[in-house]
Structures are given as C-alpha cells and as structure tokens.
C-alpha cells in the first residue's frame, strides 16, 4: 500500500513541477493532466472510488479540455526561452514556497493521531452511502451547488449568444 502511495505521489509531484518548468504551454497542460490522474489514483488508495471516477470524468475530461481549448486560441505556444525555472529571483520564490509548505505540513504531521488507521478497518463506503449523505444531512449544500451550476450554464449560453449577435 505504501509503495503504491509513494509511486503515485512521486508522479503527482513530477507532474506539478513539470507543469511550471516546461516552456511549451501545451506540454505544461498535459503534465497538469498527468497530475490529475495521479491524484485520482491517490483517491482510490483512500477507498473513495466515486471521487476518483468523478476526478477523471470532470477534471481530465472537462477542465483539461477547457484548458486546452484556451491554449489553442493563443498564438505563442512555445513560450519565451529566457523565462525558465532558474531565471532571476528564483531564490526568493523558493524561500516563500518552502515556508508556505512547512506552514501547512508541520501542523498536519504533528497533530495526526494514529487512531484513524484502526477506524479504517471496517470502513467500506459505497456509492449508496454517499448518495444517502448527500440527500439527508447535506441536502442544502447540494441544492446550492446545483443552483450555482445552473446559473453558470445559463450565463455561458447568454454570453455565447450575445457574442454571436454582435
């Protein structure tokens, strides 16, 4: 189990680093998609298969395509060769990023209790349980999300149709 976790985590970190280091923007977007798929694998390791499937379906299948469409409409794909990972000011950037990372990681590692591991032994969530939870205690949040998505859809349709009328 831990071997799988380390492999997937390494792929995720590699994808994220390549996403900011590569000059070609399309290559960078594809490495972001690699990161998303590694994340889906990590979700499966956490026994959340529904979330993993939705991650692939939504992030890779829709958000990734959206990013690629946006890249398509730009003209400069190769990027500026003078801007790479080690251009000027890299030391300050590394310092700030490292400080933020430590600020998140240190409390997480020190305050995690080992009891959670034993709780997982008889924890087998199914999609049905997820559905029941969404309907009963969390119905309000689901309604709000649904309304937001509908509003977004209608706004997109209106924006597209008004743009074509001009």
């Amino acid at each position: 189990m831990t071997v799988a976790f380390y492999i997937l985590a390494a792929i995720a970190v590699l994808g994220a680093v390549m996403a900011i280091a590569l000059r070609n923007v399309v290559h960078a977007v594809f490495s972001v998609l690699l990161f998303f798929s590694a994340l889906a694998g990590l979700f499966i390791l956490l026994l959340a298969e529904f979330i993993a499937a939705v991650q692939i379906l939504v992030y890779i299948g829709s958000v990734g395509i959206l990013m690629l469409f946006a890249i398509m409409l730009t003209t400069k794909v190769t990027g500026d060769p003078t801007h790479n990972l080690l251009s000027r000011g890299w030391a300050w950037g590394a310092l700030v990023a490292g400080a933020l990372l430590l600020a998140f990681l240190v409390p997480l590692i020190t305050q995690t209790q080992s009891e959670t591991i034993s709780k997982l032994s008889n924890f087998n969530p199914s999609v049905k349980d997820l559905g029941m939870i969404l309907m009963d205690p969390y119905f309000a949040s689901m309604g709000v999300i649904a309304l937001l998505l509908t509003a977004g859809l209608i706004a997109a349709v209106v924006a597209a149709s008004s743009a074509s009328e001009e």
């Binding site: 298969e49 529904f50 890779i60 829709s62 990734g64 999609v127």
Partner: protein, 407 residues
C-alpha cells in the same frame, strides 16, 4: 438458467489459478493475467472479424460483393490488411511534436481496453467487478477526447487541428445525453454496479416459479427496453454512442471527403491501425454497455450467459453498420444542434418520466403501470420531441426555406 458455459469458464479459471497454490506471488500474477489477457485477445480477434463484417455488410447494401479474393468469402482480408499496415512506412512530419505524435494512438488505445473490462460478460464473468463500474466506464471514456485532441494538435497541420477541434467538440457534446440516459437506468436499478443492473432486468418472481413459460418470459420481459423510459433512453444512448465512437452519421472528423481524415491525417501504417483498432474496440465497449443497461446484459431465454451477450453485441454492431450504410453525414452545426437542442432536453425529460413510472409502479402495481405508463410516458416524450423539432426547424417564409448563411 442455462448459464453452464459461464460456470464452466469460472471453473476453468479457478483450476488454472489453483495450479499455483504453492507460489502466492505467481498466483496473483496468473490471476491478473487470466482476468485480462483472454479478454484483450478475444476483443482483438473480434475487431478483425468486425472489419470483415463491416466491409461485406456495407458492400452488399451497396449492391456489390465486397472483398472475396483473400480466402473463402474474403475471411482472410483482415490478415492481409494487418500485414499491409505493418509493412507501411511510418512517416512522422518533421515539425510535429514527436512525443505526442507517438503518444496519441497509445492514449486512445488504453481507455478502449480498460473500458471492455467493465462489461459483464456472463454470470460472474467480469474482469473488473467494481461497485461503481458504470461511472468508471464513462470516466475512462472521457479520456478518448484527450487522445483525439493530442492527435489533432501534435500533427502541426491545419486540417488536423480543425478536425481535432471538431471531434473534441462533438465528443464532449454527446457525453451529456449519453450519461443522462444511463442515469435513468441507474436510478431505477439503484446501483452503479453492472452485475446488479443485469440482475434488476430479470423478473425474480417469475424465474423462481417452476412454470417454464414464466421462466422463459421472465428472462426477456424485464429488460429495460420494454419500459417507455428505457425505450427512449436506449434510442438516446445509441445515438450518443454513435457520436462518441465517431461513426456514421457522425463521422465528420474523420471522413475522407470532408477534411482529409481530420485528426488522423498525419498518421500512417501501424499508428493508423492502432487508431482504427481503438475506435472499433470502443464501439464494441459502448455497445456492450448499451446491452448491459437496456437489453438485459447476459440474461436470455435459452442460451443465457456469454454466447447470448456476444450475439447481442454483434447485433448492435450490425445495426451500427446498417445505419452507416443508410444515412448521409451530418454537418457540424446540425450535429451540435442535435445534441444540445434536441437530445439534452429529451434526456432530462426522460428522467422525469422514469421517476413517474417508478412511483406509479409502487402505487398501482405492475400491469396497470405497464399500460398506463407506456401511454402517458410515450405521449409526453413524443410531444416533447415533436415540439422541439418544430422549434429547431430552420425558418421558412411562405413554406420555402430561408438560408441564413447564404446571401
């Protein structure tokens, strides 16, 4: 009922795995191989057979005999095609993105082969028996769009790019009616697992009774296609599946006379063969899911199990070939309009009809619901369809068509 072939296959697999009882690591490996390798090989053989079937079928529809020189009835023609594809020179354009040019066919093939693992081939014969198998099928199917885009972009060719964009737009537009029509089935069956969906299409009470006639019909009449929402859902699912697999009449991205093969323009030889194979295998996978969701999976009257499933998949594929021989190609704006303005509202309406049918079944019992539900449900869907088509008609003046884009 007569699923003895399935039981025999399961026994065979268990015996083969049991040979390695002393070596647990090898046993896991053998288990994995047995779960995946026969399936992959069988579907590749089916791909070869289906190319022959398509060429002969289309030829007879078009009043000509089709390939009949290589082997009896041309049965060795796929072999000849394979050898030809292997021996062709592999031309990669100089200014293309070489890594992605190589990765695109691979990325198209991988989701196709994963997707066939989710098909319930028989009673207990499933390669990936997940609890949310149908959802994973759709998730993996969305990776097809990435691969098509990769193919179109990496060729550095304006026709490839345009074809790739159109293909991606078509595939993401038709994913929505596809998933929504599957949602009705999932709603009624109550689970995302393929085995449970197949089980929900068998009328348990009739099967348990000793009456032979009831057992015969209990295997068939429970299929979702015989309910109004299932019938409409099957039509929507099948049309959207044709569009997802880029088959006629939705094959605008890769038609020869349209845009010089679209995103496949710069591919030659073996890579083209892999694209071809991936497309056909994903067509098989989608028809397999259509059979599972609406046509009862492996349940059937006389020869239940794996052979019946294979017969159903091939008959759906034959219907796809039949439609390809009949209909002309849709234009890209007609295609997109059809998905967003016709199929999507109808698929949403179908969910309401399914809910109405479910609750009336609980309220009024089986037979009344069958008759009343068919009349009312079908009436709702038919009026909605007619209304939408009238709404979407191009404008006319005095009964003559007005062309908006032609001056």
């Amino acid at each position: 009922m007569n699923n003895f072939i399935d039981y025999k296959l399961i026994e065979l697999g268990q015996w083969a795995v049991g040979l390695f009882n002393d070596y647990p690591v090898v046993q896991i490996l053998v288990h994995l191989l047995l779960a995946t390798l026969p399936l992959a090989l069988a579907f590749m053989a089916a791909f070869g057979f289906s190319t022959w079937l398509e060429r002969k079928g289309l030829a007879r529809i078009q009043n000509r005999p089709g390939p009949n020189r290589v082997g009896i009835f041309g049965l060795l023609q796929p072999l000849a095609d394979g050898i030809k594809m292997l021996l062709k020179e592999d031309i990669v354009p100089d200014r293309s993105d070489k890594l992605f040019h190589l990765l695109a066919p691979v990325m198209l093939m991988v989701p196709a082969f994963i997707a066939i693992g989710f098909l319930p081939l028989g009673d207990g014969l499933m390669s990936l028996p997940l609890d949310s198998a149908i959802l994973f099928f759709f998730a993996v199917g969305s990776l097809n769009t990435i691969a098509v885009f990769m193919a179109g972009w990496s060729s550095r060719n304006k026709y490839s790019l345009l074809g790739g964009m159109r293909a991606v737009a078509q595939m993401i537009s038709y994913e929505i009616p596809l998933v929504l029509s599957a949602v009705t089935v999932i709603m009624i069956a109550g689970s995302l697992s393929a085995q449970e969906i197949v089980a929900s299409q068998q009328i348990e009470s009739w099967l348990a009774s000793g009456n032979l006639v009831k057992e015969f019909f209990g295997q068939i009449l429970g299929w979702h296609i015989f309910k109004p929402w299932g019938f409409a859902g099957f039509i929507f699912f099948f049309v959207a599946a044709l569009a997802e697999a880029n088959r006629s009449p939705f094959d605008l991205p890769e038609a020869d006379s349209e845009i010089i093969a679209g995103h496949l323009t710069e591919y030659s030889g073996f890579k083209y063969a892999i694209f071809f194979m991936a497309e056909y295998i994903s067509a098989f996978a989608i028809s397999g899911i259509a059979v599972t969701l609406f046509l009862g999976g492996w349940s059937g009257p006389v020869i239940a199990g794996l052979p019946w499933f294979i017969i159903k998949i091939f008959s759906l594929f034959a219907v796809m070939i039949w439609i390809r021989g009949t209909l002309p190609r849709l234009r890209v704006d007609q295609l997109m309009g059809y998905a967003w303005k016709f199929l999507l509202p109808l698929a949403i309406l179908n969910i309401f009809v399914a809910g109405f049918y479910y609750f009336s079944e609980q309220q009024f019992g089986g037979l009344t619901t069958f008759i009343g539900g068919w009349i009312i449900g079908f009436a709702i869907l038919q009026t909605a369809a007619k209304g939408l088509s009238r709404l979407n008609k191009s404008p006319t003046i005095n009964g003559k068509r007005v062309y908006q884009l032609v001056e």
